[in-house]
């Protein structure tokens, strides 16, 4: 479904990604963990080309997307993205946030888009908030609208960039529940998170990244209970508290 082959990325003198290779099967949910600055977010952004890799290939459904002749806008319709800071459009209500992509990118008629947006908002449990502006929603509600907004484009896969890190503790659960349900329904997902509960419940595999490389890969059990590498062990011991 998604294949990343030997990706390198520099930001100026900073070597952020040092040859990343991995593959995600259809319907798989992958969790990426690792210390801050290890390149997790950059890796996600390389997949939907918000960041362009310096070298290496990104394949989505067998198509290499980081090459000439492939429009970035097309790639981004294939994979939805959810951000740490939600990034809902401040001037639009919840439902308008969801319909914007439908009407402007997919060219869907407004009434059909509204209908679809309502279904999606209901799916994330926010049917009653469709007319609320982002500023009137809690962090958890905003993030759920953001998930609905990304799902509206019918993506083949979803990327989550630390979706619960900016949330107050009481709102983390509701967002993780939506994500877990999504994983159960067979959505292909790549999730950067340190939520061990989610990793154990929903992730088929966990990648541990450090200093721009994938250090270790395995099931939740292997990574959390039996890490092979020292770096993994020391990181896991810090986050497991």
């Amino acid at each position: 479904m998604i294949r990343v082959n030997d990706i390198q990325k520099h930001f100026g003198a900073l070597h952020v990604l040092r040859g990343i290779t991995f593959e995600v099967q259809k319907g798989e949910a992958i969790v990426i963990i690792g210390p801050s600055g290890s390149g997790k977010s950059t890796l996600l952004r390389c997949i939907n080309l918000l960041v362009e890799p310096d070298s290496g290939q990104v394949f989505i459904d067998g198509v290499q997307v980081n090459r000439h002749g492939i429009r970035h806008e097309w790639v981004r319709q294939q994979v939805g993205m959810v951000f740490q800071s939600f990034n809902l459009f401040t001037h639009l209500t919840a439902i308008d946030n969801v319909t914007l992509g439908l009407t402007r990118v997919k060219g869907m008629p407004h009434d059909k888009a509204v209908q679809k947006a309502r279904e999606l908002l209901a799916r994330v449990g926010l049917a009653v908030k469709e007319n609320a502006y982002p500023a009137e929603l809690s962090g958890g509600q905003q993030q759920r609208v953001a998930i609905a907004r990304a799902l509206a484009m019918d993506p083949k896969a979803m990327l989550f960039d630390e979706p619960t890190s900016a949330l107050d503790p009481e709102y983390i659960r509701e967002v993780l529940d939506v994500m877990t349900a999504l994983a159960r329904e067979g959505m292909t997902m790549i999730v950067v998170t340190h939520e061990m509960g989610f990793a154990s419940n929903a992730a088929s595999r966990i990648l541990f990244m450090d200093a721009g490389k994938i250090v270790e890969e395995g099931t939740a059990e292997q990574i959390f209970q039996n890490p092979k590498e020292d770096r993994t062990r020391s990181f896991v011991s810090k986050i497991l508290r």
Binding site: N87, T90, H91, G125
Partner: protein
């Protein structure tokens, strides 16, 4: 879990709100007071001469229309130029950013009076002869020069407006652009549907300040051969018999001018305030540029 009780329906934004009505009433009362109480009181000395009223009205109305005309010439143009310059200033494309930066610094750094003097002296030579012949043939050279001077005042204001719009653009968080990209919107769509609407809402409050300043700045045109409120009032006082001209007349004439400017700027800023209310968006107010 959201309960229905926690959900409040959003009423459609009303252009004229309760507060808006109060202000409309305020303005109307102020206007009526001015016309029927203050003016007659001020000019009670001259009520003896009905001729004076005729002359005064003629001068006042001519001047008022002149001021309106200059504002109509300068203000829309200044907003358009200001917006484009502000946009260009945040552009990543150097050939847009650099000239607009120069424009802003030059027009902001030169006093409007100096701009007006330059425009009146050399302005008409900036217009190509064919255009002068075809479109502006009916106007006298001097009037065209004043028109250009009015535009120069607008350009002075546009430098400030460019800075307002620049700040507006820059206060739209980068994450908004990223979200638009991640949805698959093209760059111009992100600009049109995400950035611009937020820029406008953020720019509106400081913009009304700048419009008020521009309206008052048109009075500088009286320094050249402009025909506005200030110029006509000055001329009126000039033709009155100098001997025994009560100082209170002079005071009265200028008071009316001041009040008129006040009413115009008040109406404009009030109007923009209603617009702000109409576009009220939670999360987008209270950000000061």
């Amino acid at each position: 879990m959201e309960t229905a009780a926690a959900f409040r329906l959003r009423a459609a934004p009303k252009l004229v709100t309760g507060v808006g009505v109060v202000h409309l009433v305020e303005m109307t009362v102020a206007g009526l007071l001015m016309v029927f109480v203050i003016l007659p009181a001020i000019f009670s000395f001259s009520l003896l001469s009905p001729q004076f009223w005729q002359i005064y009205t003629r001068f006042y109305v001519t001047g008022l229309f002149g001021t309106f005309f200059y504002v109509a010439l300068a203000l829309p143009l200044s907003a358009v130029i200001g917006f484009l310059m502000g946009w260009a200033r945040v552009s990543r494309i150097r050939i847009f950013a650099w000239p607009s930066s120069l424009y802003v610094n030059v027009f902001r750094g030169v006093p409007p009076l100096i701009l007006v003097i330059f425009a009146s002296l050399f302005g008409t030579s900036l217009i190509p002869q064919p255009i002068l012949d075809r479109f502006l043939a009916g106007f006298r050279r001097g009037d065209i020069a004043v028109g250009i001077a009015a535009i120069a005042i607008g350009m002075h204001s546009s430098a400030y407006q460019a800075e307002i719009f620049r700040a507006g653009f820059q206060s739209v968080p980068k994450g908004q652009v990223e979200a638009a990209q991640a949805l698959g919107l093209r760059p111009w769509q992100g600009m049109r549907h995400v950035i611009l609407p937020q820029t406008f809402r953020l720019s509106l409050p400081p913009l009304s300040n700048e419009f008020a300043a521009l309206i008052k700045d048109t009075s500088i045109l009286a320094a050249i051969s402009g025909v506005d409120l200030v110029a006509k009032s000055r001329d009126l006082l000039g033709i009155l018999p100098a001997s025994g001209l009560p100082i209170v007349w002079i005071f009265a004439v200028w008071t009316v001018v001041a009040l008129t400017y006040f009413v115009i700027t008040y109406a404009v800023t009030r109007g923009l305030r209603l617009l702000e209310r109409k576009f009220h968006t939670p999360g987008l107010e209270g950000i000061s540029l």
